[in-house]
Amino acid sequence: MTVNFESALQDGDAEGVITGLAPLAESERRRLAPQAAQWLKELKANAISRATKPWPYRLDSQTLLRAARAMVVGTASLSELRKLGNWSTPDEDVALRVMADRRPDWLAEWAAFVLENETTSWHTPFLLVKRLITEGLLPRPATSWYPLSMIYGLQRRDRELYQALKADRGLLEDEVWRLFEVEGGGDTSLAAHDKYSADRNSWSWALLQLSGEGLLSRDRLLDASLAALQRDFAPFRAGWFSRFHESLQPTQAERLARKERYLGLVASAVPATASFAVKALRQAGPLSLEDVGQLAPALASSATGVVRDAVRLLPSSVRSAELAAEHLPHRSADIQSALLGLVEKHASQPSVRERLERARASVAPSLAARVATLLSLDAMAARTSQVRAEERAAPPPRRESSTSVPGPIDGIADLVELLAALLEEIQDPHDIERALDGVSRLCERTPDVVRRLEPIVKRAGKLLGERAPARFDGHSPRSDIAGLIIAWATGTPPAAAETPHPLPRWLTGRSARPDPHQKSVLAFLSGRVREVAARAARGEAAPLLSLPTGRGGALEVDEFEARQRRLANAGRRPDPFDAIQARLRADGSDEGERYRFVYGATGEKHISFQLRVEPAMKVEPELTDVPALFYAAVDPAGPDYGGVAASGSTGLAEAIRWVGTVWPSNREPYYAKGALELGGNIDWWAARWELRCFLEPMLIPNEPLGEMATLLLSLGLGAKESGERGLATDVTIAAVAEGRLDVEKAGKTIGGLYNSKLLKGSRLATSLGDASRISQTHAESVSDLIEIALSGLYGPPPSDLHAPLALLNELSAARGHGVKRPTAKAYLTGIEGSGKTAALAKQLLAR
């Protein structure tokens, strides 16, 4: 009987399609393929646009698609099916019947393609392919996607995973074991599945149950999980296998039988796997001498727990001592001490002494005497100390950085290229100043100039599309530059007030909706750009007063006065905002003398940092009262000048950097703002990458570090985010080298913040330890700083006090004398107990 396929498709008659295709030869099927594909594409297009257009058919989409897919999979070629993608994949029943009739020679390839492209955590073609296998239509696919698709492929609401596995014993013979050979990725892995599954529906639980019932070989599970760990899967996915292995609770005998595998895993690049292996070996029993060498990778681990476990595992032997000596260069003095424990027993062996001698320079100062004793040559020990003292006594290395900046732009070609670069990215705020100055002086609107601007006008227009903040209203320096270019090129002056572009409703917060009337320092800077844009639109060139002559916005007074004279001689008055900016850069302002800052941290579980200006501002400052704008910003509800990105309320690095150049002779309110923001995000609750920019001006060689700068620096040294902490460390190093750091002030500030629990001792120890490595001067400064901080502590010692004390202990040992300050000694004397902190306190007092 001939089937009218067109009617069958439109009637959603899948049965009719399947029956009609069954007797057809391949060539007849192929002739029907274009019609089938076209119909499927039409259905797909209408299904996708259902949100906006009514469904044009009388039958529902599932019915029609079922028939369409039957037709497509029964007529299309493999490459056509690949192109049609997952929309062409039918359900199991349809697939089985059509493929059983058709039996294409590419069926295995199609199954592999479907598995690879359609396996996700919410849908997999596993059961479809499994049925094809069960019916003998194709062999088990070799692709790793086959077992991976099973991870989510057995789930059903009415059946636990364990029950599904038990119901199909064939899976327990092949597919389950293949799960231990493939890693997966994204959501498709055993680790990802079990992380978000209830216990009874996890693979781990299911396999344990089946093992307990004797349906899965326990031995094989133990071996397979170890084999998986040897495949170097990514840490997250590897973790499933080590946890599963441990959940089987291997006996000592089972562990002993697998000792070689554990030894191999000690070298794993995944720290958690190495740790697992070392712990497993400890449970397997004593290590033999011939296995010692394989623990070397564990001794090289940066995870102190792994090293500690490995040290405990190593038997006392010459080889163990050799390895321990080789791995002495470790950051932790505790670990070095543990390693020396292994070395000590065999220090008389030449091979051990040779390695110890090589590692001697890396040994912590507090252990130097112990090493010298082991090498049993006092003169050598003294020479070592001497060498170290000489090295560290050298004056701190001088930084190469200078305070000079590039001069004014001198040609249109350079100016256009600079403007083009600023449209893409703004790194250095001095580039904005040079661009502004360049446009101000070179903005004659000749035909050649206008032609040169053509490529960047297009780019500026694209930047100012719907998503960018409006220009000249204190939200985006890049938008301001774009507005400047457009005004210059088109001759259209900036409008009096820009209408803010609406942002998505779901954005909340004060910075979510740009306010064109917001008065902030960034709005003042936008005003400067608007002034120049207005003149550039008229082609009215004039020099600017405010271009900096040094880093950080510095303007030499002599140069400022010379510019004023030149302007006056030319019969011109300066632009108002330009004049304000230039004066602030050259002469400064004594506005800051009226204010003081008050800060502190409160709370028990959640520590909150507060900072405010006193006296509080009662009146909103004018846009031209820039110093007042700075102080007003030190208020969480005040005018933020961090800038707004078009797609969210995050700050802009270029905005913060540029604001930092506005009042170079008094950056205290700027640093106060930075402290307020960074202190409120000390534990990195929000990814505010721009905040580290507040620290940058402190790197300028002659930048003074006042109260707020020191506060910001102290917060930075204890910040969780490594970029902030690293930059704060760089500032500390530079400031010590240049004699700018008031150690007393910094120590008291850090002590206060540490006592309030806002700062963590471990982070401080890391950053200060890094700074202490530079020179003896740095080591002394850090040592003094810690002592001063200790002097400011009161109440029970912080739980992580051992970290800064360990650092102080090393610095003291290197100096050869103990704690200097009586107040610090008094604090240490009051520390009781038998823990690490108390032990370190005793060591320090005893020195």
Partner: protein
Amino acid sequence: MATTAIEQVYNYVADSQFTVAEGRARLLLQTSGGIASHPRLFEGWISHGRPGAASLLTLGRIARTRFYTPPAMVARIVAAADPIATADGENVRFEVFSPCNGVYARLDLGPSALDGAFFAVGTTNVDFGPHIRELLALVKDDGRIFLSMGPDDIAIATSGGEAVERRVRLPVRWIKGLAEVQVAQSRMELDMELDRGEAVSFLRSLPTVPSRGSIYLQRIADGLRISRSPEGTEVGGIERLRVLRDLASMATRLRIYRATSGDPATAWVLDLPGMRVHAVLSPDRARGFSGEGEVLGQLATHGDGAKQSAVGRLGYDLHEQRFFARELPFDLAKVEAEQPRLRAARRLVADRAVRFLANGEAVVRSSEVEHRVRWAEDGPHCTCPWFARYAGRRGPCKHVLAAELTRA
């Protein structure tokens, strides 16, 4: 339409094997392609078993690691390319390139590490599957490893044909990046050298998670320091170096090379007993070696070496500061020889989009705007967004190329 990927078919006579019998470790690597279907290149001993095994494992790890996954990318499993092995009569070299195009690594086994016979000179792919990696991890520190690269005639005869076939889609960009990284190395100079203790300390101190912003290395009295302020050697994606940690304690020194111009790619050379491991990092973990920037920039200045490297015929040895012969064992005929940017430049020339002004500048009309190209002391400049963003660090833009082609 340009080809975006080629299907590389690996056909091996059998799986590679690693066995330990009577205390002797044997690594039998099967080969596919290159100078023959299954070339037999070398047979003999690697003198220093543990460093050799650890180095091969490190390469295997790099070959499979995507150090960066773009946010929009669905995290599908990326099938890794098999390592490439080259025998030149004195050395055996294994090369890998990460799927993210950002890390290149090579293990050079020199004459002092090898004791055996070379049967042929050439390059091939080697099977280095998970079964091999599992077992290499068990090599004890004082063992030698017997290495055989390629099946002998008997093995071919008894295998009954190619028993193992694997298909991997290799993006063209990946292949070109592998070629480009050789040219990138040729533009590097030695920057710093660390002894074993310093290398161990430094590699242990590397961040475990990627961090935003540039990182710089500074030399201080007791080693290296990682800094955030722009003083020292800039290293992008430095956390990728953690993959070398396990090798550091076996190394005698670590040398750091940096690019003399352009984007801050770096190279790291670990000297191990009888062998060297090279790792080259792209300027940023989110950026791979693009496959054209370095080559375009070098075609004019370094001439033949760069050209030959660009088409996959040469590798670069930083230690010896020279190119070495190595033809990539891929079907390069399917990879378009001409770089896309160069093609675009030629189209501009053909469309007569370039004209020169009296002052020597060029005006290039493209996408309905006219860009200006000029030649300054530091090289050619352009007003296009590409140049504005990269300032020549990724080679010339198509406008500069078009202007130079017209001027030539």
